[in-house]
Assembly symmetry: C2
Homo-oligomer: 336 residues x 2
Amino acid sequence: MAKRDLGQDGPMRAVCVIGLGLIGGSVLRAATSAGRAGWAATTSEGDAAAARAEGYSVEATVEDALRRAAAADALVVIATPLPAVREILRKVAWHAPEAWLTDVVSVKEPVSSEVGQLLPGARYAGGHPMAGTSSSGWSAGGPDLFSDAAWAVTVEDDTREDAWCEAAALALDCGARVVPTSAAEHDTAVARISHLPHVLAAVLAAVGSDGGPLAMSLAAGSFRDGTRVSAGSPELIRAMTEGNRVALLDAVDDTLGRLGAARGSLASTGSLKSTVDAGNQARRILDALGDIERERTTIPLGTRNTLRRLREIGDRGGRIRTLDANSAVAEVPPMG
Amino acid sequence: MAKRDLGQDGPMRAVCVIGLGLIGGSVLRAATSAGRAGWAATTSEGDAAAARAEGYSVEATVEDALRRAAAADALVVIATPLPAVREILRKVAWHAPEAWLTDVVSVKEPVSSEVGQLLPGARYAGGHPMAGTSSSGWSAGGPDLFSDAAWAVTVEDDTREDAWCEAAALALDCGARVVPTSAAEHDTAVARISHLPHVLAAVLAAVGSDGGPLAMSLAAGSFRDGTRVSAGSPELIRAMTEGNRVALLDAVDDTLGRLGAARGSLASTGSLKSTVDAGNQARRILDALGDIERERTTIPLGTRNTLRRLREIGDRGGRIRTLDANSAVAEVPPMG
């Protein structure tokens, strides 16, 4: 988490974090660890008290935090569950309409759409750090939660490049790697690799538990791993999965199709070869990503192709590692 | 792994392990660590060489190992994948028909049925240690693999109590806790908590990978955990899942039903409440099992109710912790 500024002469941009749960609390800790000024607000008195006890600045109300952000030209980070975002945006529109703005909510099209309605012309780029635990709240977080994690930062045709850089710089300061992507592509992707796993974990837990005490006493690693995320807060899981309905339905339909095909093959020929081989091959692709040599490429900022090139990096499975006033450096898996 | 004998005056019973993969190799190491004499045979030259290099006794052929077992009145442990069991049993019938016999194969009715055909009157009880990793082969194992793991040992109406005690004693010597169960109940239970998780992991890996490079680069904990076991050997996963076809079909059908209901609810009302709540509740049951106070109960051996009482322990989610010549001590979750 090296200190970084965007070539500004002044100090690093301050952050104003709204929401101090697992993610928001970790953002506040990571950003201040990286040398930024930071403060927060939360409707959870428990999280507020815990953060204050550790010496963090927590304003009495969201409005107070936002007014302070407006005065300091800070970056506002919305870190609440999706259902609370609209109300926060209304307050941003009232108290800090000019502030730099990002969020860390797990779906991006609904947030982007509400920003468009309530804060047209906002200096906004959406974000989503791909990190978490089954626990929630301030106490579950830490400054290293995002270390080496992927952190999506959205690029649309009308995204302001300076706003994108502010959101990306926060992610890099938090130790993450930035994946540029559109909100729509993000939501389609996370439906498959985050929201679907939560639905399948819940279904597996229930089907296993239906096997009664004997099944539960025999349950070991495969069942524990496959159901781990079902231990998380039902409210947060619902906010996340239900908030990405259309893309998740598509992923669930693909799952029903593949599982139905497995069932048919097992019933008719007794074979699960196609299913098991396809799963093994897919998992090998994932595991290989940790090992492959990535190509470094530099993307100049401020050109008319910058946003398009950033998004291409994300589409190819690449990520931004550093950012300065002139360019972004990306690491991209080799083609083919 | 305290030393234990069944009140015999002589040394602990020797073990003859057929197959030196992850499970068989770990059984040989754990049983000899506990003080037993032990030797093995395997058709894998790599596993044989690796075991010999660590000082273990590996016979040149399965036949040699079985003849040695017959001479020593040893416990033969079949630790091959299911498809190889029949051929091993034929050799047991020829070279060591009187030997004590158990196995560590992940499905129990097919093994039990083949033992019944090829070795009627065998001194046999089936076993299944609920432990493993995504890796396979001798090198993946170790003497502590079974530490505190559940290890099913089958009880049928015609099971010989002395044979059951021999199989259970091996499990206890390996550091495991014995779950008494019938082969049929075992297979029904593990379809839900072991074989279904492998099928779902494969399906999830494939659906996620269909999301392309962007999805793979955003994949984090929930996807990694949910697909972990799909990294295992496809041959071993197929041997296990395809070998439990009937029970697994039932578990897959329940999964299709629950997932279809989730899909319908998400599409119509936008809610996943039933699915998420049911999953959370089920996972809490599993997690609570690690914490609850269990009642200790002693089951006298050698009575006409012994086998029935053992099986009741397993049905209630209980497990055997110690065994001597006169009794088994079980720990059982409280009723209700």
